[in-house]
């Protein structure tokens, strides 16, 4: 196929002989390709940056629940323990239930209580900061100690001051009254403040071992939890997410029933990522349309080129050029134009996206597959949009073509 090189050469010389026109044709492709590339790279950079910011947020959680439309099973206490032991790189897991109760202070003022029963792992939830005393620990949970960690607001409303470690408190719920010992006071979170200040009634917030709260108010720990939370550091999130489902399905015996739902913490990063993906695709589609317009430009120019060179085609055919020779020559011309345009577009697109990423402080990374795909697409456009005019050229009748002035 030594002649193939000749077709490439004649395609190149025809491009060279029409520099201005060739450049304008390529410009369409250059703009299209670089637009697509810039959009995709900056989209990736935006995602990577947002994700790394989420990852660096420290404490994080994943919540796991059983779909009650698919199964009647609940998590038992021993299953929760097994699950906790089977997943590496986590702070711990904790079920959660809420006791709505009442109490009053020594001046006789009544308050509503919102007490969450959890395991000691809930200490690692983001925003928990013990100011006085301590958080309940594993043995408190194990032994079902009737202890509570209360918020600053709680302490002030009931006792009038914050350092109340060691004080006791009567909690009434579900017609049962039990005495609890306060072992710790934690810093108010926005939620604590919101509960206390919301509406007319003051609601005070506290937390205690789920075992003791269940026991105190007659709940069955083995038949009440269809969800739990995994506490972990953000940087381990992906590794943990990858393992969680199989561990939970194995331990609960729900393999293959699709009954385990896992939601990644607040769902913040998943939602953000899918929003970012949608934005990127929409802009990429717009950019791709400009690429299509570039391709139509190639077709237009090739059609002009064929019309202009009808006589040349006639001459070549009279000298023995086959249909395929002419076809190859014109397709080569179209592909070279778009391939070159593609390469320039890639260089331009990479440069521009690099600069933009620098300026707005996004991480800049290029997927080599993307570059290869983009080059392939631009050459493909040349072939696709070049085929119609090239076929027309190749099928010209030599006599008609020679008569053309």
């Amino acid at each position: 196929m030594g002649t193939f090189g000749e077709y490439i050469k004649s395609a190149l010389s025809s491009i060279k002989n029409n520099k201005g026109r060739s450049f304008l044709t390529m410009l369409g492709i250059i703009i299209g390709i670089s637009a697509v590339l810039i959009v995709l790279i900056i989209g990736d950079g935006m995602k990577a940056t947002v994700n790394s910011e989420i990852d660096s947020m420290g404490a994080s959680s994943i919540s796991v629940s059983l779909d009650d439309t698919k199964t009647d099973k609940k998590f038992t206490r021993s299953q929760l323990k097994d699950i906790e032991e089977s997943i590496d790189n986590i702070y711990g897991i904790s079920p959660s239930f809420t006791v709505w109760g009442n109490t009053s202070n020594n001046r006789g003022e009544a308050f509503e209580l919102y007490i969450s029963g959890e395991s000691e792992a809930s200490e690692t939830a983001s925003g928990v900061k013990v100011l006085h005393g301590r958080y309940y620990n594993a043995s408190d949970v194990e032994d079902g100690k009737q202890v509570l960690v209360i918020s600053q607001t709680f302490a002030r409303h009931i006792f009038g001051y914050e350092e109340v470690v060691g004080e006791t408190l009567d909690v009434t719920a579900y017609d049962i009254t039990k005495e609890f010992t306060i072992i710790g006071v934690k810093e108010d979170t926005p939620i604590d403040i919101a509960f206390a200040g919301f509406g007319e009634d003051i609601i005070l917030t506290a937390s205690g071992p789920y075992t003791s709260l269940a026991e105190a108010f007659n709940f069955d720990v083995d038949d009440m939890f269809n969800s739990f939370t995994i506490y972990l550091d953000s940087e381990n999130r992906n590794a943990v997410l990858a393992k969680t489902r199989s561990v939970v399905e194995n331990i609960t015996g729900l393999r293959g029933e699709n009954a385990v739902k896992i939601s990644s913490g607040s769902g913040f990063d998943e939602t953000t990522n899918s929003i970012l993906d949608i934005i990127t695709s929409v802009v990429a589609i717009i950019a791709a349309i400009s690429l299509l317009v570039g391709g139509i430009g190639v077709m237009n120019i090739m059609t002009v080129s064929v019309t202009e060179r009808t006589r040349e085609i006639g001459i070549r055919k009279s000298l023995g050029a086959r249909t395929s020779s002419i076809l190859t020559q014109f397709l080569a011309e179209a592909s070279i134009l778009t391939f070159t345009g593609g390469v320039i577009g890639i260089i331009f697109g990479l440069t521009v996206s690099f600069i933009i990423c620098r300026i707005i402080d996004f991480s800049f990374s290029v997927n080599p597959v993307l570059v290869i795909v983009v080059v392939a697409i631009s050459t493909g456009i040349g072939l696709f949009f070049g085929i119609y005019p090239a076929k027309r050229a190749a099928n010209l009748d030599p006599i008609e073509a020679l008569r053309n002035e």
């Binding site: 000749e6 009279s318 000298l319």
Partner: protein, 234 residues
Amino acid sequence: MKKLVEIKDVCKIYNPGENEVRALNHVSLTIGEGEFVAIIGQSGSGKSTLMNMLGCLDTPTSGKYFLHGQDVSHMTDDEQSDVRNREIGFIFQGFNLIPSLTALENVELPLIYRGVGKKERDRLARAALKSVGLAKRMTHKPNEMSGGQQQRVAIARAIAQAPPILLADEPTGNLDTASTKEIITIIKRLYHEGRTVIIITHDPGIAAQAKRIITISDGMIKSDIINPEYKDEI
């Protein structure tokens, strides 16, 4: 003399129907190897149509055309291309050079389509240009040359890969007297070197230099004679 071209009862009809034009009307003709034939006739008599037929640029509406004994009247486009490339060197009235290519590149074209390698191609093309006296114009583009020079490039291109037949359609139609003489001299020399030359002209002065003169009128052969005035000299 071996038969080279044999046309049997060929018709070429344009626009069949009411306004049909019989450009060739039952033409039969045999040309042997190494002949020097002039085809002469009025404008519109069918000369170019005949030449296109002989040159495998066109196929007859009816009748048969044998070239080297091979039936070439009903071939595909690509087969025709191959036959043209192998058997025929064209010289046109309008030169038909590709303006963007140099003289050398123009002459190389049929060799490229023949699949000749680069080195051999270069050698053959240079030799052909030299033989028409254009050794010094190889890298010139057509628009940098006179009409006579352009036609000499076209002749070099026609003979570069040594086809057995040279077909010239009004090769001097666009040239002045001096250039005409030059071109005719080269064509006669090519005949003397053993090529079969078919020259189409409406100029009796040029026809008179050929060995055999065929007169055509209204698509039919009116006379086919050995030129009594033929002088076997260059």
